[in-house]
Amino acid sequence: MSDLWEGLSQAFWLVVLLDPDLVEITLRSLRVTLTALLIASVIALPLAALLAVRRFRLRRATIAVLNALMGLPPVVVGLVVYVFLSRAGPLGVFGLLFTPTAMIIAQVIIIVPLIASIAHQSLRELWSDYHDLLISMNTTQGQRIRALLWDGRRALLTAALAGFGRAIGEVGAIMVVGGNIDHATRVLTTAIALETGKGEFAMALGLGFVLIGMAVAVNLAIHWVGHTERGGRW
């Protein structure tokens, strides 16, 4: 119990005094996860729309695979990415291992199936509604996808949020491919793992509260930006 209080007070001082290490780690966490979210959304959202509107032979199989990939253990993804990016591996020439870029790559792989799956569910519903209308209007495939993505943006935002939540709290994969290097690839989750490992529970708790606070804050910010909860907008 006293650990918890110590953690709270330590967290309070860390934040209030804008501890430079904390700020650096937080910014890096945000940078890695938001970049991964952006890239993953650019891949996953149009993919979800395409799967919703286009009929092709392997469609059902693709959707099933996508849903299954959601269950990929993140640390296994980390391991695979590590093997590929290591100098001894096929993509070693790029020297990406133990850099934030490697962490972004791992996180993108982890959250793309999640975002695509969730987005696809809602887009499919929307498409079944729009289907007759858009076909009657002689729309191209591209126009249909754009209409779904734009009109379905609230659901897409939810999918992206889910992706963000998964990524920001992830520790296994980014520990493996990032190496938790101080001032280079250390982020909130890996720092928490480190402090816990050193027996510094109060510090770890402090970092943990910051992580929770940050995740909630980003959540609220994205909602506000999307205007989705404001004045009667559907």
């Binding site: 940078r31 938001l34 070693g92 938790n180 290097i181 001032h183 280079a184 994205i222 930006v225």
Partner: protein, 267 residues
């Protein structure tokens, strides 16, 4: 909406640009837990304008990172593994830098009577015959290899131990945590012990036997095998590590008034 997200990301990216040279070095958890790196790295940055990025892993993984060429140099403490590393053409040479020692930690109640042991081997034999809970690193690290060699010297085979012997497969800090949680015996390097924050009911019970001394060596990764390895920077760092300044910092580093490392590089 997408634009705002993009803008936020761009701002965060721009805020963290860096310009100094950097290299990657794999070091052991024991070294990192001592806290010595916090003293040395800023001085290295000041004197050489060099960012040394530390990957803190067990000796086994450090060796493998060096073999794969994923780092530019390694700092480990396991002579046999180092010699095998060099024999495989993975490193240019080994340079001894400093040594510290291992100590035996255990519950204050000391049921196995380790505190009264004459030698390190004697202490381990006491633990084995009492079948007292013992936590081992179990991660192929320098510390782990040392521990295994001591069991061997005591005429005991670690493979055949009963459930009192717990191999956790983790770094020094995590292993100490586990020992603290279980009230078990454990062999740790002095530095990690002094820096450990969750001592609980544990205490330092035995030390001083010369066989427990632990030599750290620096091995640059071989640029002939890995042309991209930053050998020039690795050599620069080595030069600094064996300098008088480093000697002063290393010998002068204390925790609670106790020195941890003894500088012994041949200059």
């Amino acid at each position: 909406m997408k634009q705002v997200l993009f803008g936020a990301v761009a701002a965060a990216v721009l805020a963290t640009a860096s310009i100094a040279e950097d290299m990657k070095m794999a070091v052991t958890t024991s070294f990192h837990n001592s806290g010595l790196a916090e003293i040395l790295l800023p001085e290295i940055k000041k004197d050489l304008d060099l960012d040394v990025q530390l990957l803190v892993v067990g000796t086994g993984q450090a060796i493998r990172l060096g073999e794969a060429g994923d780092v530019d140099a390694i700092l480990v403490h396991s002579k046999k593994a180092e010699e095998r590393f060099l024999a495989g053409g993975n490193g240019t040479h080994r340079r001894e830098i400093m040594y510290n020692d291992f100590v035996f930690i255990g519950p204050k109640s000391d049921g196995a009577g380790v505190a009264g042991a004459e030698t390190a081997v004697d202490a381990l034999q006491k633990v084995a015959s009492a079948e007292a809970l013992f936590v081992s690193r179990g991660d192929d690290s320098g510390t782990h290899k040392k521990e295994l060699s001591l069991w061997k010297a005591a005429g005991l085979d670690a493979e055949g131990f009963g459930s009192w012997y717990r191999a956790v497969g983790a770094g020094m800090g995590a292993a100490l945590n586990t020992a603290s949680g279980m009230g078990a015996y454990i062999m740790a390097d002095r530095a990690s012990w002094l820096n450990f924050g969750n001592k609980g009911d544990l205490a330092l019970l035995f030390s001083g036997d010369p066989v427990l001394f632990n030599q750290y060596a620096y091995l640059p990764v071989n640029p002939e095998k890995h042309p991209h390895a930053k050998n020039d920077l690795a050599m620069k760092l080595e030069g600094w590590l064996v300098s008088d300044k480093a000697k002063g910092l290393i010998n002068g580093y204390t925790i609670n008034g106790e020195t941890l490392f003894v500088f012994n590089a041949k200059q």
